[in-house]
């Protein structure tokens, strides 16, 4: 059992290393050992440097009011190279969101991936995938 937990920890550690890291500040305030998957509705998609932001009103959990959470991503330039555009999300999109939350419990997180529920399109970002030359 202990060995299994060790393996899980190793996988999580390697995933954390593979995640996109922001340009002008550390991402250490996000808890990459925790992954949350929640459904919600896009309220705003900010295509700005140095970090793109995706604001999502998460569906209300039982006994709680709906909450808006802010997801942080890398820069528009880096996302463009991953196939993103400033229209990748639009307000009103229903999505399933996978993210790593802020450690302090505030309503923010590091974006991992999202599925647009209407189309099934999965949108993700992996900055480390660009660590080679000659990418078309």
């Amino acid at each position: 059992m202990k060995r299994n937990w060790f393996r899980v920890a190793l996988v999580l550690a390697s995933l954390a290393l593979a995640l996109p890291v922001a340009a002008h500040h550390s991402f250490a305030m996000f808890d990459f050992s925790k992954t949350m998957t929640l459904k919600g509705t896009v309220t705003e998609f900010r295509w700005t440097n140095p970090h793109v932001a995706l604001l999502v009103q998460l569906d209300a959990q039982p006994g709680a009011a709906p909450e808006v959470w802010s997801m942080e991503l890398t820069s528009p330039g880096n996302l463009t190279r991953g196939g993103w555009t400033r229209h990748s999300f639009k307000p009103g999109d229903r999505i399933e969101l996978v993210f790593n939350p802020l450690r302090d419990g505030k309503h923010g997180g590091a974006f991992d991936k999202a599925t647009i529920l209407e189309t099934g399109q999965v949108i993700s970002s992996d900055l480390r995938a660009a660590e080679k030359p000659g990418i078309e």
């Binding site: 340009a23 500040h25 305030m29 700005t48 970090h51 330039g77 880096n78 802020l102 480390r128 660009a130």
Partner: protein, 284 residues
């Protein structure tokens, strides 16, 4: 006062004015003789042609971030005792999930941190007498490296990227940089680094390690925070896909969302952030 007295007085005043004018002219010409104006000569066709014999560094270059992190371990920074104590604290804070954001004020990462820790693309422009490095995010960083044979100024105004002069040794660009603001960080991550505290000197040797891999060998001489020069290397990958074209990146833009003001104009409105610079939703 008689007419003769007035005439003599006027002549004396005119003489004094003429003497003062002549003295001033001689003084100014003396200064000009000491420090003749330096003019950047217009490039000639041969100067443009000479660029064709330089190695091809065209395209957009993306950093090898994994290697940046690996080299912090393989090429450890020779911090002095005081700096090492600060680094230990900063590393512990980052590890605990409470990182100190060295660059969240949007001031430039500066030299040499830009070359050491950037996660963003950059490009090289060759023009007669100069190599220019343009960065992408965080304010479209810019380095001007003069290759026209000039020397550093005796007392350069300190700047974030310093004063750089370079020359070619075969296919290697050798760059010498001084005049960097003492407040700027020698950083090993966005959350770990110390101010260079002055007298910083950076020597770089840049060359193509492989046809599409650029290597920058850096020697960082920082006598107020390092016990000896720190030698390390950084690598960049060449991209020619058009989606890699450099785009504008204004760091402070991220502090605002696009909204409307009271008059209905398109306007930037501040967005809430954590102390560490992370975005928060409205009414968090």
């Amino acid at each position: 006062m008689s007419l003769r007295q007035r005439t003599v007085r006027r002549n004396l005043m005119e003489g004094a004015l003429t003497a003062a004018f002549l003295a001033g002219s001689i003084l100014l010409s003396g200064i000009a003789a000491c420090e003749p104006a330096v003019v950047n000569a217009p490039p000639q066709p041969k100067d443009w042609s000479a660029l064709a014999s330089l190695p091809d560094w065209s395209g957009v270059w993306t950093p090898n971030m994994t290697d940046q992190e690996r080299r912090i371990r393989t090429d450890p920074v020779p911090w002095d005792k005081a700096a090492a104590a600060q680094i230990t604290k900063l590393e512990a804070a980052e590890k605990a999930g409470d990182p100190k954001g060295l660059f969240i004020n949007c001031l430039p990462e500066s030299m040499p941190s830009w070359m050491l820790i950037t996660h963003n693309a950059l490009e090289f422009l060759f023009t007669p007498g100069r190599v220019t490095i343009l960065g992408e995010s965080d304010g479209n960083r810019l380095r001007r490296i003069y290759t026209d044979g000039r020397h550093h100024p005796d007392d350069p105004d300190p700047t974030f990227h310093g004063h750089s002069v370079g020359h070619w040794e075969g296919d290697t660009l050798v760059v010498d940089t001084v005049g960097i603001l003492p407040e700027t960080y020698i950083a090993v991550s966005e959350a770990v680094g110390v101010p260079n505290n002055g007298d910083l000197h950076v020597i770089e040797h840049m060359h193509l390690d492989k046809p599409d891999v650029l290597r920058d060998d850096l020697e960082v001489i920082a006598p107020h925070v390092l016990t000896k020069p720190w030698k390390t290397s950084r690598f960049l990958f060449r991209q020619r896909g058009r989606k890699y074209d450099i785009v504008e990146g204004v760091c402070l833009q991220g502090n605002y969302s696009e909204s409307k003001d009271a008059d209905g104009n398109a306007a930037f409105v501040p967005v809430p952030q954590t102390e560490g610079g992370n975005y928060l939703p409205p009414n968090h």
